[in-house]
């Protein structure tokens, strides 16, 4: 096999900017071909490091291929194809360019072998994703994109400062395992944490993703957070702090998801919950747990993309995403409904779906390492995710109260895109081995000493029991009217702290700095110079007139006459039109005054 002259990410990044120059079917062919060309170039790579570039005094590695970067790169390219197919009918240049650029940055980031090029691709992710949020072209999405960028610039700055300190300390740019001990490592850790949407840093995700464009969110939900998961798996595997961050992430969003009215926000919360499983897996850090996190990221991109696509199709056809406005759509969108149910079953980890073959590895790994409390919380989160994402989303959108919405089925390209994702969800659920073969680490179950297999009696039965009784709880709460009613509302999250405190900060700064500014403007900028100018203009006239007044007074002129003469002298001197006689007298008086002094 030969290595192409260019890294795979370049095809997507450069290709993205050529899209606006093409028209009609050629454009459609081109955007579909880009991920395929990238895939071919990607699959042609063998393990190793490629495309080393000298930049200043650094050696940048644009292609580090190992099993870890391969799995992430592969799924990124697959979902790019699905995503591009999904947005095809919109024919929106902004979405095409931003989506492909964003995808290319993600592929570039996972292939980057050094911290500097990783950082550059990381920042490019923020740029691409920002435009995908704005591509919805509503006031709400523009504001959300602004808040999103603020948060990611903050995260980016943490990462940059961490990397600079790290390179200064170690003298190495290589992107590899980092011990969480020094300031630099913490800065990198939390810089990645912002993109990974850790608890309290997560607000950008639930704020921006539901506001993003119908198709844009398919890209958004795949790249930013999963690149962060990759970075954590690369730099901080086995870091115990991650276990608890992950457990918190898996647990808290499900409570929000239950009471949330906007179904796209429910998806955002369940995205956080699923990330929690991955972060926990990385924190546990055994070979099996890391494999679990990587498999879960792979499968998650597929089923989460599928769920976003199905809700996107609903939004596209009805313009609605709220429980209070939806229901009964299975009648007009049966295929979308079917695909949504497949996505929902996968995220809930039903046997025969890909969620089952990935989530169960992390659960088993936590038991193998005797993290029982972690296991209990994850099991709770696993039951909860079926409850809020697995049932709530399809139920309220497609069944529940029929709101009389009769619309067309989603466009064909959207259905094809959802079909591909749904097929992969079930295929990998039934035949996980091809995916397991790609995994970066040893997939042996330590307690048994045999390769991990999700399909044994205990796993299948216990998971089915958990899910069926979770559904039973939903059913009984629904039928008894105890399930929280859908209410048009917004639920404040930790973003309240950011919005209110930054709003307050802005207000204080506005009042303090702007009033200081106006005081300075009034005194220093306007007051002092104009008074000085006035003084310099009037001083010679005043001095001369007053000195002359003494002379005139000695001649016995009346005070009225003196006043008139003074005004006359001052006006003349100010205009520069004093007669020679006056000037001479004034000069003489001034000179005698000076000599006397």
């Amino acid at each position: 096999m030969t290595i192409s002259a260019l890294p795979p990410s370049i095809f997507l990044i450069i290709g993205a900017f050529l899209v606006p120059f093409l028209k009609g079917n050629l454009k459609k062919l081109f955007v579909l071909a880009l991920p395929l060309v990238t895939l071919v170039s990607f699959l042609n790579m063998e393990t190793g490091t490629y495309w080393q570039v000298q930049f200043l005094d650094m050696t940048l590695v644009l292609g580090r291929v190992d099993k870890l970067s391969f799995v992430f790169g592969l799924i990124f390219i697959i979902i790019t194809f699905v995503g591009v197919l999904y947005i095809m009918h919109q024919n929106d240049d902004l979405e095409f360019v931003a989506g492909l650029f964003y995808a290319g940055s993600a592929v570039g980031a996972v292939l980057a072998g050094d911290l500097f090029s990783f950082l550059v691709f990381w920042e490019m992710l923020t740029l691409g994703s920002m435009f995908l949020i704005m591509a919805r072209r509503t006031d709400e999405s523009r504001k959300a994109a602004f808040r999103y960028v603020l948060m990611h610039v903050f995260g980016g700055l943490l990462l940059i400062s961490g990397i600079i300190l790290h390179v200064h300390e170690t003298g190495s740019l290589e992107f590899t395992k980092i011990n969480l001990s020094s300031l630099s490592s913490y800065l990198i850790f939390f810089g990645i944490g912002v993109n990974c949407a850790w608890p309290l840093l997560h607000t950008w995700l639930v704020d921006a993703y539901p506001s993003a464009s119908v198709g844009g969110v398919v890209f958004l939900s795949s790249f930013t957070t999963k690149t962060a998961v990759y970075a954590l798996a690369r730099a901080f595997p086995g870091e115990p702090l991650l276990i608890w961050i992950g457990v918190a992430m898996a647990a808290f969003p499900i409570f929000y998801a239950v009471i949330e009215n906007n179904l796209r926000k429910v998806l955002a919360y369940s995205l956080l919950n699923q990330l929690g499983f991955m972060v926990t897996g990385i924190g546990i850090g055994t070979q099996l747990a890391l494999n679990g996190a990587v498999t879960h990221a792979f499968c998650h991109i597929l089923y989460k993309g599928l769920l976003w696509m199905s809700m996107g199709a609903v939004l596209y056809r009805t313009g609605r995403t709220k429980c209070t406005e939806l229901g009964g759509l299975y009648k007009s969108m049966p295929w979308t409904c079917l695909f949504c149910i497949i996505g929902a079953a996968s995220i809930s980890a039903f046997p025969l779906t890909n969620g089952f073959v990935s989530k169960s590895i992390i659960m088993s790994a936590s038991l193998e390492e005797h993290f029982y409390l972690v296991w209990f919380v994850l099991l709770f989160a696993a039951a909860g995710v079926f409850h809020h994402a697995g049932i709530k989303i399809p139920f309220f959108a497609f069944f529940s109260h029929d709101r009389g919405l009769r619309t067309k089925e989603a466009p064909k390209n959207m259905l094809f895109a959802m079909g591909i994702a749904a097929f992969l969800c079930i295929f990998l659920g039934c035949f996980p081995q091809p995916l397991y073969d790609l995994l970066p680490f040893d997939n042996t179950l330590p307690s048994k000493g045999v390769p991990y297999t999700p399909y044994d009696y205990s796993h299948v039965v216990s998971q089915t029991q958990l899910l069926f009784f979770s559904a039973l709880a939903f059913c009984m709460l629904m039928l008894s009217g105890l399930y929280p009613a859908e209410i048009r509302s917004v639920n404040i999250d930790f973003d309240w702290v950011y919005r209110k405190s930054f709003g307050f900060f802005y207000c204080v700064m506005d009042k303090a700095l702007n009033s200081l500014n106006s005081v300075c403007d009034a005194t220093l900028a306007k007051g002092v110079p104009s008074n000085l100018a006035k003084a310099f203009r009037n001083f010679p006239g005043l001095l001369s007139a007053n000195l002359l007044a003494l002379v005139w007074a000695s001649f016995g002129l009346s005070s009225k006459e003196i006043k008139t003469r003074k005004e006359d002298v001052m006006a003349r001197i100010e205009n520069g039109s004093a007669s020679i006689g006056f000037s001479a007298i004034a000069a003489m008086v001034a000179l005698s005054f000076l000599i006397r002094w």
Binding site: I259, Y330, L379, L467, A473, V490
Partner: protein, 81 residues
């Protein structure tokens, strides 16, 4: 008269729910007859996963409804002014 759809038929919904309840009972009972491979003691309790799943979801809903919602729910235009 608008077209009748598959779940418009109440009997079908009832039949579906009945099948679902029976599967739940069957899944619960199967633990008493076929042992599972387990890591920890609680997993040996028959019906552990079923009971845990049920209680977890009821707790989840009650905490979300009665504790979280009163704390965080605001008008839809809360942030707009």
């Amino acid at each position: 008269m608008s077209k009748k759809h598959i779940w418009d038929d109440e009997n079908r919904v009832k039949k579906f729910l009945k099948t679902f309840y029976i599967s739940c009972i069957a899944l619960f009972l199967v633990d008493f007859f076929i042992p599972r491979y387990t890591h920890i003691e609680v997993e040996n309790w028959p019906g552990f996963y079923a009971v845990y799943g049920f209680i977890a979801c009821v707790l989840l809903v009650f905490i979300a409804k009665h504790i979280l919602r009163p704390l965080v729910m605001k008008e839809e235009d809360y942030y707009d002014h």
